[in-house]
């Protein structure tokens, strides 16, 4: 087991290196760089020398391999470089926004779990009744409704019915939990609903499958309470694929964060990402992509581990 964990962790390094090379190259072949964009914004004529000087300051005049090695070597020493737009260290720009996005991600995941597992189980137990149809339509709708629109609708509802808006400035949970939650619960609901959709369907089909197993019949035959059969025997075994899907759907969560932060005007990682792309801030974009990919790969690794812990039949080599 320890060897397996170590091997998986080590295998992440070449993948992340590949991601780094790919993103780095893609961003550099893009026509037009940050320097041109900045001067275009001021509307004044800039002589070529000024542009070149600016490029030299940002290190953009060096050959590609040199820029790449500098960047990777920096990362190895946990120095992620400076933002090309604000000049602040990238790590600082990310750090001041990380708490918000992490909290939103966590809350959205909790919302998704609390929606999907009860609803999916209910649908499986009442298969082919109106409850089942309702849950299925509800979950397909969750896949179809864009989370940014759901966010807009939530804001709209509050505005029209209560003449109230969720607070716009972020308060840390540790400073004022109540103010923090009144702000964060709405975007978490918007993201979590979408996130729950696939998990609900997975729960439904997993529970349906488990309920047909022999050991469920045995449990019922020996006269166990239906609740014990359900919770101890059925749900416990149905959870494996559900956990897997929650991990795999992490991509939805990232997508949800990117658009929902925009709607609720939350200055988080998603907003930083979108802004940096619009401004061609290579340093931030490439570091963020690397970070997101790392988290994505790591979450999948964790899911495999959790599955191995929960299911003694799974043994990794």
């Amino acid at each position: 087991m320890h060897r397996y964990i170590l091997k998986r962790l080590l295998l992440m390094i070449p993948t992340l290196l590949g991601v780094a090379v790919l993103v780095f190259l893609m961003l550099r072949v893009a026509p037009g760089d940050i320097v041109e964009l900045r001067y275009a914004g001021t509307g004044t004529y800039a002589p070529k020398e000024a542009l070149d000087l600016e490029r030299a300051q940002l290190g953009l005049d060096k050959p590609l391999w040199h820029q790449f090695v500098t960047w990777i070597w920096g990362i190895a020493r946990l120095d992620f470089g400076n933002s090309m737009w604000t000049g602040q260290p990238v790590i600082h720009e990310i750090a001041i926004r990380l708490e918000l996005s992490l909290q939103l991600a966590l809350m959205a995941t909790i919302v998704a779990i609390f929606l999907s597992i009860p609803l999916g189980t209910l649908a499986a137990l009442k298969q082919d009744t109106w409850v089942d149809y309702f849950v299925r339509v509800f979950s397909i709708a969750g896949l179809s409704v864009p989370s940014f629109w759901l966010g807009i609708l939530i804001i709209l509802g509050f505005l029209i019915i209560f003449q109230w808006l969720p607070p716009l400035t972020f308060t840390s949970f540790w400073v004022d939990p109540k103010a923090n939650l009144t702000q964060m619960i709405w975007p978490a609901l918007a993201v979590g609903y979408r996130y729950s959709a696939v998990a609900t369907r997975m729960t439904r089909s997993a529970v349906l499958e488990v309920l047909r197993e022999d050991y469920i019949r045995t449990a019922r035959a020996k006269g166990l309470w239906e609740r014990v059969v359900l919770v101890r025997h059925a749900l416990k075994n149905a959870m494996l694929p559900v956990i897997t899907i929650i991990g795999l759907e992490f991509a939805f969560l990232v997508g949800g964060l990117v658009v929902t932060e925009q709607v609720f005007n939350l200055n988080g990682i998603g907003m930083l990402f979108v802004e940096s792309i619009a401004q061609r801030d290579y340093m931030i974009v490439q570091t963020l992509v690397l970070l997101i990919s790392f988290v994505f790969i790591f979450v999948n690794f964790l899911v495999d581990l959790i599955n191995a812990c929960l299911d003694p039949r799974i043994r990794y080599q």
Binding site: T15, M26, I140, I155, L159, A278, I292
Partner: protein, 298 residues
């Protein structure tokens, strides 16, 4: 003689058409949810094709005398902050959504299918290298890869199509490869090889037609995702550019700013996105159940 041939081909055509009709009718009877989705999709396609005829106004025509007007007989769905008719923009927006949705899912699924089949056919080192590269692309969440492509190419309709296509390719290649692996050693592929056919002829003429079921499943599954992704990119200002009528773009900026005064600006485009993605998802789900016997619930 010519008459007979004409008759035969006509008969063939009729029986062929009837076959399609039968299949469609059976699909509609057995999978009513899927059929409902298909009908909404067809309605959307008609709206997009006939936009010039059915849209009451020019979607780009600004009318500052009619800014932010509510629902009325003149403007069924109201007007936006430039006085443009929301209904007309929705109808023309279906063109943008369908064009981007269909072309990017078709390109993505097809490229993915060719890569997947080729990778399975050649096997060995080719397979290994291709798979590693696909794994690499898969380690980006969908929207992140699309945003990076937009960062490279810039905004605009064509670039958005590429941006949505790129993340679709590895997802399709993965699925198609696993179905194509079992074809590699089937007698008909070995026979084709023994006859000395070229690699590409075997891949395109013999193997690809046999992975049509997973291909169609992936294609329809991508359609809804592509429309949603386009709407998200446009909403972020990184998709199609103003003044093109696009649903995501209609929700951007002014829709939120004037939400209280003109809620219709925020409600209808979102409804259009949700309804169309919903329809594609319903249809895709039913198609998957119909095509994939393994997933059929007894």
């Amino acid at each position: 003689m010519a008459k007979e041939i004409a008759l035969i081909s006509e008969n063939f055509l009729v029986s062929h058409m009837r076959g399609w009709l039968d299949v469609s009718l059976r699909f509609a009877r057995e999978r009513s949810l899927g059929a409902a989705g298909a009908i909404i999709v067809l309605l959307m396609i008609f709206a997009a094709l006939l936009a010039d005829l059915i849209a009451p106004y020019d979607p780009l025509e600004t009318d500052y005398a009619a800014m932010l007007q509510g629902l009325s007989s003149g403007h069924w769905f109201g007007t936006d902050s430039f006085g443009r008719d929301v209904l007309s923009r929705l109808i023309y927006g279906s063109r943008t959504a369908l064009w981007i949705g269909f072309s990017s899912s078709f390109l993505g699924a097809t490229t993915g299918a060719v890569i997947g089949v080729a990778s399975a056919y050649f096997g060995g080192k080719v397979d290994l290298i291709v798979q590693r590269f696909m794994d690499l692309l898969l380690s980006f969440p969908l929207i992140v890869l699309a945003l990076v492509v937009v960062a490279v190419l810039g905004t605009g309709t064509t670039n958005v199509i590429v941006a949505i296509t790129v993340p679709m390719v590895p997802r399709c290649a993965l699925v198609i490869r696993s179905s194509a692996l079992s074809l590699r050693h089937t007698p008909f592929v070995e026979a084709a090889r023994a006859l000395g056919f070229s690699h590409w002829r075997i891949i395109f003429r013999h193997m690809l037609p046999n992975v049509m079921a997973p291909y169609l499943i992936m294609l329809t599954a991508f359609l809804g995702q592509a429309i949603l992704l386009e709407a998200s990119l446009s909403f972020l200002g990184l998709g199609v550019a103003e003044p093109v009528a696009a649903w995501g773009l209609m929700l951007r900026g002014a829709a939120v700013e004037f939400a209280e005064r003109a809620p219709w600006m925020a409600i209808f485009p979102g409804l259009a996105i949700s309804l169309s993605v919903f329809a594609f998802n319903l249809f895709g789900d039913s198609l998957r159940d119909a095509l994939d016997p393994k997933l059929r619930v007894s």
